[in-house]
Subunit: 351 residues, 4 copies
């Protein structure tokens, strides 16, 4: 019953098979191999346009490299106060970006709205020479709360951002989970809604460690190859990175893996609801956030369940965590089983 | 006949097996898994002392993180002018180190000597506030010329460095190949000879992508976990990094893989010598540098051989590359076959 | 009627005289002159202990150099959300600090309290490797609201900070104005209350451009000479920087200049109170913040008065800016005249 | 007899007068004052074109800000191995430039030639992703050896640089001294010869501390205001910086001050030649480099003469420093007197 994180899962079988299969013969290093060429083509097909593609092994690298490329050192990244870039990357965007600044904003269910962003842009102070310049709006899809931005929401935010001269970045560490829910094309969920650069994650979805930085205007990625290299993020045996991403994107593999995770989250939410425990936000992706009575929490821990408590600042207005209760995050993945879900729910229900 | 680089080889079978085997069940991310604990212990055993251990996926990351940790931003790293950190990392040490400086020194066969380093330390100018301060001596083992520092050579260089307040870093991307030649213990080849921090590579030796930064005084690594994280170099599914390093260091795996590569280099050198072509430096590890007549070079290329030309600045005094000839680097690896070596030599000999 | 900023004033006569007088003969550059030696001694006497002293020309440089020296790149500076370092230095601390992070906190009258800081330290998340580490508490004295921390307030904040491993920095751009109000010794207002490093400003007080970074534990300043130099902040004709600071600190010059500014602020507040306009915070130093009806604001502007509107987030609980009104900041300086103050007040009172 | 550096002199009277005179009334801070507007216009007139102008207090700041603006972090600055940016700024360009690299080249009399630069550009390796990219050629005018580039020499170097995609920076800390010798217009000596950005120094020429970064294509300076601010180099009482530069550039003040310094250098060289001591390079500006017998050196020191020994690497081919001799640098300035020169020469001649 491991609901701690989607990165506690291993590697999805088709991706592991691809790694093994890639281990045949010699191949030029540093991305000059055939698999890298194929995955670049596959991404262009997927997004229905030419794209600039840079593979890396971690999501933090993908985010920090992309943000540093989109913003001058005197820029400010606007993002949610619970976004991964703001809270869980130990200052990576600041480091890569030469000392840029993250300006964190509130928002229910970890979602930003045009109202929130617009007020921040209006209030400021922004701009030179005394103040940093708002340079990038970064959205997480799915969000850290397991909610999902709809294409029209992204479009409205992007329009606002672009009107103020900001670029739009999407942290898509869990993009697949959002795509399953949205049922639109990858193009519609990203650049057609105004996204300029995407950190497209495969690791949480089932890869060993593979993410791709996608720039929808290839010219905007000029210099990114050097930036990646000097950050130590150009793998020498690059074919194994490419093989992971290629397998992930072959057919519907990425969506199938995410669909399973989402189904498990839906099932978990449904079972908990039967026990009178409703999610605090809509379950849009592969995460369920619920408030558990302390004694239930203890019972689960004793039974070996793994998950983390969560902070309550982004709760919907009026909703609070009662005494003797705890807000927890439950994450499902491609490898979560229905049995684990049911067992967890049974324990909650005291069975 | 691929002698382009040891990173054109794939993954050695025991290491690939370990990756596959690591893919069982759930494991905590970010190094809180059992394999990471085991590999930490293994490294302590190997080096006969407590060590601080940080795994990363690339050699550039290992080097740049280690150097940034050893030097203040106003420090200077003394290194050979052909060292990987100076020529092939696109400024990674400078980036990680907040704008530190690399001071490059000459040396036959890519080896530094106390004479060369001593003169640089004497000449300067060094020190504040106008000049940068010499802070680290970085040695490559095996060197970029495939030569190997003997323990007493390292000790003499370390003694000089320490006497001037410099720390000693070793870029051990090909440490295993050196160890095979030296026939001393890992401790004797490193900290007992004065090395303070080591970038210990497994990738070129046969891993998919695994390097470990070893600090021989663990206290000196304080803060490295944060430095690694904010550089995007903490892998979430860290068990797969640990599994590679564990397999590499199990028994004599690492030395056996290197011994094969070295034997192939020796065989290649011997066969070429029979054709009247002697290596320009001693073949100490898994690299052979020879001067080929242009027409032989063309014949090899036509036959499909892969390798790179090399620059001639580090040639021994008096040795030059004649017109119509080219200095080339031939790299062997764990996966080089005797057949490939012999075929290459045969083509050279015009058979 | 210039109340825009204390840096719209020129240079106080004794300081300008000192610059002129320093222009005699040759002097070694870069701080190796006699005036620099004297000012170092003077600061030690003033603070009743040995101190490390580095002069620079701007307050932003003093703050950013000090903070970068106190914090690792993965550190977080806790400060008020309206502090100069957070809002008016275009990201200087982040740049100098290799990408460190500023964590901004609320507080009435731009003052932090142990309650506010304590909650931030408790809430976090802090610490490695995923989160930045709280490393410095930075206090502004006088604050951006013209209020003043009492020594026991500083001591309570410092005690809390030190207990959590944070260093304490004081941005003393207007330290003199606070000292006049506090009537304690410089030692009592700084290191005896727990301050580790001080940006001690003379520019706003009457210098042309002179600030000094004071480390109360000299050993902690090791490397600061290099850090200053490579930031371009070591003036070659350093004697002129030293001469300014020496004149500023001769006798009670610095306190006399500040006392005048404070008196003008008190007088301004008193006159405005007679017109029914009370300051929104206590007038502790040389700044008066009042809410003006829009038509009064217009009348003043027409009469040539210069001052800036201010943002209202730090207003005391319950206090708001009514429609058709504006919160403004009025700054006095050593060169403000009683005539200007009275004329301003007369215009407000419609005379 | 102070020939240690031109920054051991004080402030030239017209410039000091201007500082005193600027101290009248209130003025907006941060460059929004009238003097700054005037000096901007004056520079446009001087260079016969619109220019972007940013004043700072030190030459290191001017150089490092300009270079960071011209080069990406993965760029390399090509410069002479004895250039101030390479040897005397404690790594400032690397710090400001996010870890860029300086590639130092040899050259007699501290001058680069198209041959030397061309060979470096050809040899490399340059370019991505493994190697840094040559991005800027930086020339010092007058050079660190007191020699002067002729306009056609600059044009030839610029043409080569531009053809390879490099920008051209000129460190003009002693530009005035060169101008006096060249007798061409400022435009001809800079942008008409291909210079893209200029660090134009007044400090060594007689200012208290004033330099200006000039971009000849104003668009290229976009963002420089922010870069300067976050480096702590925007002075609040900016009028005093502007006043210095304005006085320096009023009429022929700057050239007159430099002409005096140059004349003193010529006179010194002539007198020493009469003693059989010839300069090792042509005396083009305000520096004389001679080889002194050790006993003469001692005699001078005893008599109170101040100057520094110099390193001998840039000596013309075939010229060496004999045993019992020392290569020294003698710098004159606007405040050097003929009496000091003659007395120095007399001591050399044993009178």
């Amino acid at each position: 019953m491991n609901f701690a994180s989607d990165n506690t899962a291993g590697v999805a079988p088709p991706i592991l098979d691809a790694i093994v299969k890639a281990n045949e013969g010699f191949a030029l290093g540093y991305g000059n191999d055939d698999a890298t060429a194929r995955v670049t083509k596959r991404l262009a097909d997927l997004f229905e346009r030419e794209v600039a593609v840079h593979l890396v092994a971690t999501g933090t690298a993908a985010n920090a490299l992309a943000l540093a490329h989109l913003s001058p050192p005197w820029g400010a990244i606007l993002c949610h106060e619970q976004s991964h870039i703001a809270t869980d990357e130990c200052g990576a965007p600041e480091f890569f970006g030469g000392g840029l600044k993250l300006v964190t904003l509130p928002g229910t269910g970890c979602k930003l709205t045009p109202g929130i962003v617009g007020e921040a842009l209006k209030r400021g102070p922004w701009g030179g020479p005394h103040h940093v310049t708002a340079s990038v709006l970064s959205l997480t899809q799915s969000t850290e709360a397991g909610t999902v931005y709809r294409p029209d929401e992204i479009a409205a935010l992007s329009k606002l951002a672009h009107a103020h001269g900001l670029a739009v970045h999407m942290d898509g560490a869990r993009l697949a989970n959002a795509m399953v829910r949205l049922q639109v094309s990858p193009a519609e969920a990203t650049w057609k809604a105004g996204v300029d650069a995407l950190s497209f994650g495969a690791t949480k979805g089932g890869a060993l460690g593979a993410e791709v930085i996608v720039f929808f205007e290839p010219a905007r990625a000029a210099g990114m190859a050097e930036r990646r290299k000097r950050a130590g993020h150009l793998l020498s045996k690059h074919r194994f990175l490419a093989a992971q991403m290629e397998a992930y994107l072959t057919g519907n593999c990425w969506l199938d893996l995410a669909a399973h995770a989402n189904r498990m989250a839906d099932r978990l939410a449904a079972r908990l609801a039967m026990a009178g425990i409703d999610p605090v936000w809509p379950v849009d992706a592969n995460e369920v956030f619920v408030i558990l009575p302390r004694r239930v929490d203890e019972r689960l821990k004793e039974a070996g369940a793994r998950y983390y408590p969560w902070e309550s600042r982004a709760l919907p207005e009026g909703k609070t965590v009662p005494d003797e209760s705890v807000l927890v995050r439950l994450v499902t993945s491609f490898s979560t089983t229905g049995g684990d879900v049911d067992r967890f729910a049974d324990i909650v229900r005291g069975r």
